[in-house]
């Protein structure tokens, strides 16, 4: 049974092509099959001046059943590819965890039995490998992750034809950003700009204060590390709907990393930057320098952990973080060894963040 969707047919053809090549290698050529996959990670991540984002380099890895370590990996990739093909044939969708369960099994005889996947990380890696092999993002396979991004503000979405107005009058809730992006469409955007914050707790505080209505803004959060749908939403709003995007995260290396995820991309998804990164977005806060400019009370500052310091030192070395502004901020952090969360502004009153800090920053940046 072939899927009706033409795009799905294309993907399935790509998967069949992989299978055919492997089969031909074995049957016709009589050689060990091998899959060449672009290498993902720091040493194959390249900064593109032109695109102003992280992109993937030329390095590749060979995955073939030619070493004890790669035999299982090779089998895992093919099993996952076949599972994706089935998913598309059946016109179903699944989360990455669902794919893990769909392909669970045990390997070996009674004496040497082990699990096919040692954990979901393994199956997530296999899904990534199929994305790289087919050059198709997994959302197109209808394989998604659990939604965790949230959006609030004057924007109307269409999800599979159902209209959702995110300008919720109650100020009491936000809309989850759906991860099945193939079914997602932005219908109408009335906002003047888009503000991304790191955490949902901060988003809730800002929304409750009436910030959306006062400044005609869309509020967005990835609830920590943003998923792909959230990143794509930000990009589309910025590039298709021409809305300025500003980003606020905690003043710690982790928060800065998340903010930069939106702006320049990440090493682990460098192959998909074209779809996910918003180079025109502005990271406005919270800067390490803000701790001292806004004189955050000592009691609300946190001591940096060794992990934080290591992370900051790592970041300093990355070729794409040689910008003076980031270097200055990182050095400030390494010098004072203090970090601070956006929530720290609550120490000045629950409305201080939305009423004073954010407008100040936005005015400085000329957004309002």
């Amino acid at each position: 049974m072939a899927p009706k969707d033409r795009r799905h047919q294309e993907i399935n053809n790509k998967i069949r092509k992989i299978m055919k090549n492997v089969g031909d290698d074995i049957l016709i050529q009589g050689i060990m099959p091998s899959l060449e996959i672009p290498k993902v990670g720091y040493d194959n991540t390249v900064w593109s001046d032109e695109k102003r984002m992280l992109t993937i380099g030329n390095k590749t890895v060979q995955i073939g059943p030619n070493s004890s370590k790669k035999i299982p990996t090779f089998a895992q990739y093919l099993v996952m590819a076949n599972a994706i093909r089935k998913l598309l044939d059946e016109e179903m969708e699944s989360t990455i965890r669902g794919m893990y369960y769909a392909t669970l099994s045990t390997v070996g005889d009674e004496k040497n039995q082990q699990k096919f996947w040692s954990g979901q990380d393994d199956s997530d890696d296999a899904i990534k490998a199929i994305e790289l092999l087919t050059n198709v993002p997994r959302e197109e396979f209808s394989v998604t992750s659990k939604p965790k991004g949230m959006i609030s503000g004057p924007i109307t979405l269409s999800v599979g034809g159902d209209l959702i107005d995110c300008n919720l009058g109650s100020r009491a809730t936000s809309q989850l950003i759906p991860t099945n992006i193939r079914d997602l469409e932005i219908v109408k955007v009335k906002a003047d700009f888009v503000m991304v914050v790191e955490k949902d707790t901060v988003l809730n505080n800002i929304r409750k204060s009436g910030f959306i209505q006062k400044y005609n803004a869309i509020l967005l959060t990835g609830s920590g590390e943003p998923d792909r749908a959230t990143r794509m939403m930000v990009k589309v709003l910025n590039e298709k709907w021409k809305k300025p995007v500003v980003i606020f995260a905690d003043a710690d290396p982790w928060g800065l990393g998340i903010a930069l995820r939106y702006k320049i991309g990440s090493e682990s998804l460098s192959y998909d930057s074209d779809r996910l990164v918003t180079p025109n977005s502005k990271v406005l806060g919270m800067m390490f320098s803000d701790i001292y400019e806004y004189n955050i009370p000592k009691v609300a500052r946190l001591a940096a952990t060794q992990e934080d310091l290591n992370r900051a030192n790592d970041m300093k070395k990355k070729p794409w973080l040689q910008d003076k502004r980031w270097k200055r901020e990182l050095n400030l952090f390494l010098e004072h060894k203090e970090k601070c969360e956006l929530d720290a502004f609550f120490k000045y009153g629950f409305k201080y963040l939305a009423d004073t800090y954010l407008p100040n920053k936005l005015r400085e940046a000329g957004v309002i």
Partner: protein, 642 residues
């Protein structure tokens, strides 16, 4: 008197208390100086000879087998030993133990003392023998006398004598034998078939725990490893096993030698002089005739350096003689000779290692509950190696022998320790061999810890020493007339003098010797693991492909399996680079290159082709591998011919 003491105590308390104490002490310290018979001493201090509660039967087995082997080897007789251990009376823990050999036997008039009187032995000479003290058999006799009313039954036939039979008990109080009954054995009642031999049967009261029982089994099977020229039959309530004779080569018997001057003391010197009492020999002559490595000139030099006047040898007093002893300690002599030692030797140990018997208990569950059945299995290793060193420990020449058996039927690591051909089974943890094994790195075998752990990840070992992951048996044999035992029980050897250094160099030497083969074995193991991985994962791959595209899955599966086998055997060296989504041109280029490579490889090693021609189970692969392996090792080929 009492009242007087009381008043005095009241008057000058402490002094009086002292006096009373002194009186009391005087009464206590009255000591009777008795002479204790040797037999009584050893029965009271049985631990000195290792006869402690749990170990009585183990020690008895040990002593009897050792006596029998010594008795055969002394005249170069290929030993045939029959050992029996049976429960006689379970209620009273009575066991019958008997041992029969074809050794030289004991002359009939000497039998009672040789069996029952402690410290009577034909072995008090300077040469290597298993037993030395004349205690073992006597201990069995004394325990039997002490704990039971059964006599010790003895059959003996020494050369040119007819077979005689004795019922014996020990008079523990006087160390004298009691002969209850004695007769010449008629032909139809004969227990000893050959020209000579000895059989003893005793009843002992002892408990046998499963642990000790296993030690006895271990002892017998390990004895057969170092005595592959002996036929040993072992019979218990659980069944009967026979360790066959695997070679007719026997080690050269050890010869009695003169003491080395380094070992001279006042006692040995006086004894030497006494030996020459009746002949008019000078001290110089006595020295050169009584000690090895002592020439006439050397003896003269020593006497001169000691500053002694010339006079008849028996006229020197102890003050003069001690000077001779002292001078000897500071004089350089040639190293002592090793004629009095009897190492196992490369040939015999190799036979032992390649045909190692292990006793197996098969549990059979029938109608009458579970029953154990004894059987013996030969473990054939894939390769063996041998190395030895002669060294001086404690001024005594000592021979260190070391052997390795690897792979094949050997399931896991095991250390075997022998001292003068006696297996040591207890206290392994404190033995010098243990230290030696921990301190010699396996990198000398040319393999890394990581490789070993990868290939043998399933091995369960309490130790983190890498060598214990390997299926390897390591054998150490120390022979010397004075083994540096750690304890009186003679179960572990201390790291004395340079012993450890020599053992280490021996083991390192062996590791190097086997490195090439072990590497090959490990490669084989790796291949085996790889083939297993293929076997387990290929079905997943085939399913994924055949569900996605139209393809003959059976044909594909067979082709893939063949491919995997060829790949593992090294026939297929390169893998292609498959470029995705597709770039056929590049693909073809690589394929062409690949075909060329393939031609080269095939030309280079034709021999490898048959190495692994069967894909499939784990058992079939190593067997095949071992066959080719064995041919490559000289030692093994010789044995196979025999």
């Amino acid at each position: 008197m009492t009242s007087k003491v009381t008043t005095e105590v009241l008057e000058k308390g402490t002094k009086q208390v002292k006096t009373i104490l002194q009186i009391a002490q005087k009464q206590k310290t009255k000591i009777r100086y008795d002479k204790k018979a040797e037999s009584e001493f050893f029965v009271d201090n049985s631990a000195l000879a290792g006869f402690t509660g749990e170990r009585i039967l183990y020690m008895s087995v040990r002593e009897l087998i050792e006596n029998s082997l010594d008795s055969c080897e002394i005249n170069h007789i290929l030993p045939v030993i029959h050992l029996r251990l049976k429960l006689l009376d379970g209620l009273n823990d009575l066991w019958t133990i008997s041992c029969k050999d074809n050794g030289i036997g004991i002359p009939s008039e000497k039998v009672p003392v040789a069996v029952c009187s402690f410290l009577t032995s034909g072995k008090y000479v300077e040469k290597q023998q298993r037993g030395l003290f004349g205690v073992g058999l006597k201990m069995i006799a004394a325990f039997s006398t002490k704990d039971t009313d059964h006599p010790l039954r003895v059959w003996s036939k020494s050369e040119e004598e007819s077979q005689c039979y004795f019922d014996l008990r020990t008079d523990i109080g006087t160390n004298k034998p009691i002969t209850l009954f004695k007769k010449n054995v008629k032909n139809d009642e004969s227990q000893i078939e050959g020209d000579s031999g000895f059989k003893v049967e005793a009843v002992l009261r002892a408990k046998l725990s499963p642990v000790t029982k296993n030690k006895i089994y271990d002892y017998v099977s390990q004895t057969s490893i170092v005595n592959p020229y002996a036929i040993i039959t072992f019979e218990t309530d659980e069944g009967k096993v026979t360790f066959k004779r695997r070679t007719e080569i026997m080690p050269n018997p050890s010869r009695e030698v003169l003491p080395h001057p380094y070992d001279m003391d006042l006692k040995t010197l006086k004894k030497a002089i006494l030996n020459f009492m009746n002949q008019k020999t000078t001290l110089q002559g006595i020295l050169s005739n009584s000690f090895q490595k002592m020439s006439n000139d050397k003896a003269k030099e020593i006497i001169t350096r000691a500053g002694l006047p010339i006079k008849p040898a028996d006229k020197y007093d102890e003050h003069e003689l001690i000077k001779v002893v002292n001078v000897c300690k500071h004089t350089k002599f040639q190293s002592p000779n090793t004629d009095h030692l009897s190492p196992i030797g490369e040939k015999i140990l190799t036979v032992g290692m390649t045909s190692e018997y292990s006793i197996i208990l098969n549990k059979e569950t029938g109608n009458s509950g579970s029953q154990t059945q004894l059987s013996a299995k030969i473990l054939k290793p894939a390769l063996t190696a041998y190395s030895s060193r002669i060294c001086i420990v404690n001024n005594r020449p000592t021979i260190v022998e070391c052997g390795i058996a690897y792979g094949g039927d050997i399931p896991s690591f095991k250390l075997f320790r022998f001292a003068n051909k006696i297996p040591l089974l207890y206290d392994e943890g404190s033995d010098v061999a243990r230290e030696v094994i921990s301190e010699v790195g396996i990198n000398k075998m040319g393999i890394s810890k990581k490789e070993v752990k990868e290939q043998y990840s399933h091995v369960e070992t309490k130790s983190d020493r890498t060598v214990e992951y390997l299926p390897i048996h390591i054998f150490f044999h120390i022979c010397s007339t004075k083994i540096p035992y750690k304890t009186a029980g003679k179960e572990s050897i201390a790291s004395e003098g340079d012993l450890k250094k020599y053992m280490k160099s021996c083991l390192s030497d062996l590791y190097r010797k086997v490195s090439a083969q072990i590497r090959r074995e490990l490669k084989l193991k790796e291949d085996e693991n790889k083939l297993r991985l293929y076997k387990h994962y290929i079905p997943f791959i085939i399913d994924a492909i055949s569900e996605s595209i139209k393809i003959d899955s059976k044909k594909l599966s067979i082709a893939f399996q063949n491919l995997a086998e060829r790949y593992v055997s090294g026939e297929l060296t390169n893998i292609t680079k498959q470029i995705f989504p597709d770039s056929n041109q590049k693909r073809n280029q690589i394929n062409n290159k690949k075909n060329n490579d393939k031609k080269n490889t095939v030309n280079n090693d034709n021999g490898n082709e048959n190495n692994l021609n069967k894909f499939d189970t784990r058992t079939s692969v190593p067997k095949h591998g071992n066959k080719t392996k064995l041919d490559k090792i000289n030692i093994h080929r010789k044995i196979t011919k025999k």
